[in-house]
Symmetry: C6
Subunit: 280 residues, 6 copies
Amino acid sequence: MGGHDAMPLDTLMNDAALSGYRINREPHYRAQGDEIAVFEAAWQRRMPLLLKGPTGCGKTRFVEHMAWRIGRPLITVSCHEDLTAGDLAGRWLLEDDSTRWQDGPLTLAARHGAICYLDEVVEARQDTTVLIHPLADTRRQFTLDRKGEVLTAHPDFMLIVSYNPGYQSLSKDLKTSTRQRFAAIDFDYLPPQQEAEVVAAESGVSPDMAQRLVALGTRTRRLRGQGLEEGASTRMLIHAGGLITGGIKPMLACRTAIAAPLADGDELRMALQQAIEASF
Amino acid sequence: MGGHDAMPLDTLMNDAALSGYRINREPHYRAQGDEIAVFEAAWQRRMPLLLKGPTGCGKTRFVEHMAWRIGRPLITVSCHEDLTAGDLAGRWLLEDDSTRWQDGPLTLAARHGAICYLDEVVEARQDTTVLIHPLADTRRQFTLDRKGEVLTAHPDFMLIVSYNPGYQSLSKDLKTSTRQRFAAIDFDYLPPQQEAEVVAAESGVSPDMAQRLVALGTRTRRLRGQGLEEGASTRMLIHAGGLITGGIKPMLACRTAIAAPLADGDELRMALQQAIEASF
Amino acid sequence: MGGHDAMPLDTLMNDAALSGYRINREPHYRAQGDEIAVFEAAWQRRMPLLLKGPTGCGKTRFVEHMAWRIGRPLITVSCHEDLTAGDLAGRWLLEDDSTRWQDGPLTLAARHGAICYLDEVVEARQDTTVLIHPLADTRRQFTLDRKGEVLTAHPDFMLIVSYNPGYQSLSKDLKTSTRQRFAAIDFDYLPPQQEAEVVAAESGVSPDMAQRLVALGTRTRRLRGQGLEEGASTRMLIHAGGLITGGIKPMLACRTAIAAPLADGDELRMALQQAIEASF
Amino acid sequence: MGGHDAMPLDTLMNDAALSGYRINREPHYRAQGDEIAVFEAAWQRRMPLLLKGPTGCGKTRFVEHMAWRIGRPLITVSCHEDLTAGDLAGRWLLEDDSTRWQDGPLTLAARHGAICYLDEVVEARQDTTVLIHPLADTRRQFTLDRKGEVLTAHPDFMLIVSYNPGYQSLSKDLKTSTRQRFAAIDFDYLPPQQEAEVVAAESGVSPDMAQRLVALGTRTRRLRGQGLEEGASTRMLIHAGGLITGGIKPMLACRTAIAAPLADGDELRMALQQAIEASF
Amino acid sequence: MGGHDAMPLDTLMNDAALSGYRINREPHYRAQGDEIAVFEAAWQRRMPLLLKGPTGCGKTRFVEHMAWRIGRPLITVSCHEDLTAGDLAGRWLLEDDSTRWQDGPLTLAARHGAICYLDEVVEARQDTTVLIHPLADTRRQFTLDRKGEVLTAHPDFMLIVSYNPGYQSLSKDLKTSTRQRFAAIDFDYLPPQQEAEVVAAESGVSPDMAQRLVALGTRTRRLRGQGLEEGASTRMLIHAGGLITGGIKPMLACRTAIAAPLADGDELRMALQQAIEASF
Amino acid sequence: MGGHDAMPLDTLMNDAALSGYRINREPHYRAQGDEIAVFEAAWQRRMPLLLKGPTGCGKTRFVEHMAWRIGRPLITVSCHEDLTAGDLAGRWLLEDDSTRWQDGPLTLAARHGAICYLDEVVEARQDTTVLIHPLADTRRQFTLDRKGEVLTAHPDFMLIVSYNPGYQSLSKDLKTSTRQRFAAIDFDYLPPQQEAEVVAAESGVSPDMAQRLVALGTRTRRLRGQGLEEGASTRMLIHAGGLITGGIKPMLACRTAIAAPLADGDELRMALQQAIEASF
C-alpha cells in the first residue's frame, strides 16, 4: 500500500498469474535456418504461427527460446483428444458457497499477453480448434460463452501451434479454415555435425561417440516407412549417450534407448540391431 | 439516480449486456456485388440470412460492416461439433447458495435486439440447428426449456449463419428444413484488382508486389481439387505481404505464409513452390 | 385474498404457467381438405395425432390454428437428437439450498390440459418417444420417475407429433409401437391458386408476380429426387416476394431466396437458375 | 397418534408411496386362453413372467387386469435405450443442504410388494436387465450399490417383463441368462368375433361396422413382412371406429387411423388403400 | 459403553457394514466333483478363483454354500457393461454440506474381509477388470484414487469371479492378463439322477415327473448350437415343476417355463415342442 | 511444535501423503540380465523408463525391488481405457461448503519425489499419455490446468511405464511421440532353473515338482499363437504348486491353475491337457 501505488492491483495479480510461465534463463537453441528471423517478423505483426516437423526435432525448444528472446511468458498446452474448449477457456469453480471463474491457459495468455503454445494441435477436439479462430484472425477476440465476456487479446498475445505432418490421417488433419489463419515454419532434424555437438553437450559423451550416435540416428531415420513411423529423435540419441556416460556399454545403451522403445516386432528390431552393430 | 429516471433499470442492464458487442468504428468492406442491397432488403423484413462461400473471402467482415451500418450490436458464435443448445440458449449458474440464469449468446441477441451470427453453422450439433428453427420463421420465438420461458424475439433481432459449401459432406450438410428458413448470399474472392488493393493496404507492400501476391493466390486457387481443399485466401496473401514488409524475402515469405500452411505432402508442396517461383 | 376466493391458488398458478402458451389471435389457415373435421373428431376423443408432410407446407400453422379454434394453449417442442426424456418431463433445480421441481413442456401440457406438439418427432432420442407411449394410449398417464409421481393427463390434454416421411431413414424411422398409437393426417403444398394468394398476402407482391413465384415453386418441386431433397416451400416463395417488395429485382430475389439456400453444387444450381429464368 | 397406533409409521408411508399405483376399478380383459390360470400359478410361486406378443394385442391390459385381480399395486416402466440402472433402482437427491434417497420404481415395488412391469424390456440397456437377475431367481434380492443396501424383496413382489419377438434383432435380443429366469406367456390378436365385440364396445360403432373394421385389420396383418412390420392393432381399429362415430366417413377414418400412420411409401400405402376399399 | 470396551468402535462399525452380507443358514449344495476341496485349498492361500460354466448350473449357489462353510460374509456384484470402477470402489457422497466417502462393494469386502463375487465378470467394462488386478496378485492391494487411499486387503478377503465361456465373443472375452491371475473351476449341469432329486425337492413334483422334466432338459441341451444358445437350466425345470404343482398340465407348464422363454422363431419353437411331446 | 521446528509443516504433510507408498521390506527379485545396472544408470539421469514384456514375468516386482533399492516411494497406477487425465492429475473435491484440491497419483509422485509406475500404459486414454509428455522430457513439468498450477517435478521423481507388446493392436499401440521419450528394458520369463527355484520357494513344492511345473509352463508357452495369447506365467505355476501343497493332486491342480483359466475351447483345452499329462 505504499510503493505499489503506481501499479494497479489488477496488474499485480496478472503478474502473479503469469509469473510461473516466465522463462528466466536462455534455453539453448541452435538455429537450423531462417526460423528466428521469420518468427521475429511474425511476432512484429502478432501473426499466428504453425510449427511443422517430426517429434523431438526441437519445435518446443525453439518456442521456449523465442519466448525468452522476446521476453514474454509462455503457456504450453499439450493437446489430446479429450481436451475441451472449457479446458482452454476456463471454468466456474465452486468456492465457499459461491462460484469463482478460473481462466484457462488460453484465456490467461490472451488476457495478459503471453505466448500460448498448443502442442500437437490436431490431437484436440474440433471445438478447441474452432475456439482459436477468432483469436487467429484480425479480430483477435474470443468469447467466453460461459462467462458472458468478450475478450479482446492483449497486444502482446501470440498464438503458436505445432503439428506433425507425419501422423496426418483423415480424422486427425488440420481443417483448411484453421490452416488459412496461420503462417508456418518447417522443422527437421539438425544437420549431422550440429546434432553431434548437441548430443555431446547434453549427454557428456566424447565428440567421436556423439558422431557415432548421430550416424546411428541417421540410419534409423532411413528406416522410416519400413515399419517405423519415425526414426530416432535427437532426444533418443542423448538418452543413449547418457546411459553410456553412466557406465552402460554403447550397444546395450543404444538397444535400451533406441531399439527397444521404437520397435516391437522381430523384423524391425533386427533391422535396428544391425544399424546399432554397424555403428560401433 | 437522476438523469437515468427516464430509462428503466432493465434497459440500462440490457445496454450494459450488449455494450461489449457494439461496433463503434466502421469495418472496412468493399462490396463484391449486390450484397449490401440484398442484406438491407432482408433486414427490412428481418429475414434470416445464410452466407455461403470459401474461408477467408470476407463473410465475417461483411457481417461486421452491416452490423455497423444498421447500428445493431453483433454477437458472433463460432460453431463446432460440441456446441450444445445450452451453450446458445443459456444455463443456470450456482451463485451464493442460489441459482442465477445466464442468457447464452443467442438468447442475449434475441432478447435485446442484436444480430446473432452463427459462423460455420454446419459444425454445430443438430440440437443447435433445430433450436433456431422457431426463431427463423414467422414465429420468431424460442423456448428456454430449462428456464420455462417462451421468448419472443426483439423486433431488431436478426439471425445470420454462414456455411462453406466446399466442405460439404454427408454428415456435415445443412438440413433441408433449416435451408428452407433462410435466404442466401453467395460470396467469393474479390476480383484481382480489388484484392490487390486490399493486400497492399493491409500489409504495406507496394502495388506491384500486391499484384504478384494476388497472381500467386489465383494460381493456388486453380489447384483446388488437386489435393488442395481451398486455395490461398486473401488473408494468407496479406500474411505473405506482412512478412515481406517485415524484411523477409518474397519467396521465403510466400513459402511461410502460403505453401507451408496449406500443404503437407511433397507433391502438393512442389506444385505450390512452382507457383511461387512463377510469381517472382 | 378477496375476489380470488373462488379460484384455488393452484389453478391461478397453472393459468400463469400456461399463459405464455395461449394463442390470442386467429392464425390464418387455409384448409387443404378434410383436415379440420378430422382434427375435431380426433379432439373429441383426445386421440393422439400424427401430422405427415414436407417442410414448410403448413403443419405448424395448422396446429396453431386448431389450438386457437378449440381454445387450448399450445406447447411446441422442436425435437432434435439430443432431446432427452428429462427435457420433456422436467427436472430438479437447485434453489436457495434446496431443490425445486420444474415441469418440462410435456408435463406442463399433460398436467394443465394444453396441446403438446412435438415437431419432427423422429429427430428425438428413443427415450423420448417411449416416454409418450403411456400418454398416447387409453392410460393417458405418465410417470415422472425422478419425481416419483404418476401423472394422469388433464382431460383437455392432447398430443400431436409431426413427421416428414421424405427424410425417413433406417435410423430415423418412427417405431411401429409408436405409429400404432396415432391417427395420422397427410399434408402437402397448397394448390397453386391458393398458394399464390398466400404469397401475395404475406409478401406484398402483385397477384401476377405471386403466380410467377408459385409457378417457380412448382418447377423446383419437380426437381425433387434429382439432387434436391425438397422443392421450395411456400415460405421460400414469400421470402422471394418480400425481397422483391423491398426493391430487389425478381431474378436476384429468387436466386437469393430459393436457388442459393437450396443448392450447393453447380449442376443443381444451374437447373434452379433455368427454372428461375423460365419464370420471369 | 390415536387410531394409527396399530400401524407403524413406516407402513403408513409405504401405503402412501404405493397409493398412486393401486388399480381400483376392474380393467376389462377378455381371456384368449389359459393365460389367467398360468398367471395365477406363477403368482403362487412369485415366478417371474415374460409376456411375448405384438404391439397392442393386450399385454399391458392383461397385467393391469391381473394386478387388480390379485389386489396388488402395479408399477409400470416403459423401457428405452437410455434407461439406466439408476433410473430403476433410485438415486440420491439433494434437499435442504443434505441428500435424500429416492427409491426408483423397481425398488419401490420390491420393497413394498407391488408388481413391477417392465414394458418392452429389450429396449433397456444391459445394466438394467442384469440388475433384475438376482431379483428373478431364488435370491429375490438386489443390492442398491449407491445406497449400500441389500434389499430382499417383499413376499408379494412379482416381476413381469414384456417383449415383442417381431422386433428381435441382434443388438436388441434378450440375453439367454435373462430368459432362463422367466416363464413366458404367448399373446396374439383376439379371434375376429371377440375383437369385433371389443371394437364395437370401445368405439361406439355398430356390430356390422366393427366386423368390417376387424376384417380390414386381418387384411393388414397379412401384409406383415411385405414392407409392414406389423398389421393394424386392435387399438387402431378402435381409433378408426371412434372417428366414424365422430362423423368421419369410414374410408377417410380408416385412412386416417390405419393407412396413414402405418405406411410412408407409395406402394405400401396403395396396398393398404386397396385393403380399405375391399372392406367397405 | 461397557461390554463393548474390548472391541474398538471401528470393528463394531465394520461388523454392522457387513452384517447384511452374512449367510446364516446353510445353502443347499450338492457337489459335482472335487470343487469343494479345490475351493478350500484355494481359500487356504486366498487364491483368486474363476468359476466357469453355463447359466443356472449352480455357480452362484456354490459360492453361497462355500461362504457359509468358511463363515465369511459374501458380497455379490452382478456385472454389466455400464459397471464402472467407481461403482466397485466407492464414491464421495454429499451430505449435510460436506462430503462423505462410501465404500463400494469391492472395497467393503477388501477392507473387512468378505468374499467378493463378481458375477459374469466379462460383462463389466475394462476399468473394472483392471481394478481387480493388484487385488488378485501377491500385492493384494488396491488404490482408491478418488480417496487417495492405498488399501491392503484384509487377510480374509477372497476374490471370486464367474464367466460363461458359451457367450464368449471378441469384445466380451476375458483379457489374458486377467486370466493369468486366477485359478479356475469348471461347472456343468448336474448328472440326471441328482438333477431330478433337486427338481423334485424344489418344485414339489413326484420323482417320476422330475425325471421326465430332466429328460426334457437333456433333450433341449442337445439343441445347443442349433439356434439355441443354451438348453434349459435346472432352474427352468424347477419352474415347469412348480407350475405343474400349481395345477397346470405338464405340457402347458413346459411350454410356459421352457419353450416360450427360450425360443422366438417358429423352427426352434417346433423343435422344443417336439422335445416336450416326446417327454410326456 | 518443538522438535518439529526444523521441518516445515509442508514436508511433514508430504511425508504423510507418501507414507503409504514406501516399501519397507526388500521385495525378492532375481535379475535376468543387466536390468538393474540399466535402471540405475537411468535413475542417475531420471530418464523415463518403459518396461516391455509378457504378463506375469516380473515387471511389477522389478519396479518394487528397484524402488526399495533406491529408497523412493512407489505409486502404481493400473491403467485402463476409462482412466482420464483427471484421475492422474487430481481434482477438486467439495468439502464443507468449499472446494479442496486433491492431488492425483501422478501429481503426488511428481510433487514429492516418488516413482510413478503406470502399469499397462497403452490401456489408458490418449489424454493420459499426452499428459505425461512434458514430464518425460527435459522440461520435467506438467500443468494442472484445473488448478492453474505449473508443477515442476521434484528432483527425485521418476516415471516408469509398462507395456505388453504381445497385445499390440492398431488402437492400442504406443504413440511414436510417447515412445521417443523413454528408454526401454525388455523382460521375459526366467530361465528354467531360476524359475523352478522361485516356484519352489513361493509355493512350497519340492524342487522336483517345481521343475515339472516349469517344464509344463514351457510347453504351454510354445502353444502361443496357436489359439493361446500367452503361455502360463510364473504366477500360474506358483498357483498350481500352492494347490499341490494344499493337498490337491498335481494334474487336478494344473488343470485348475493353468488349463481352466487359460483355455475356453475344446481344442486348446485338449492341447493343454496333453501338456499336463506329459509333465506328470
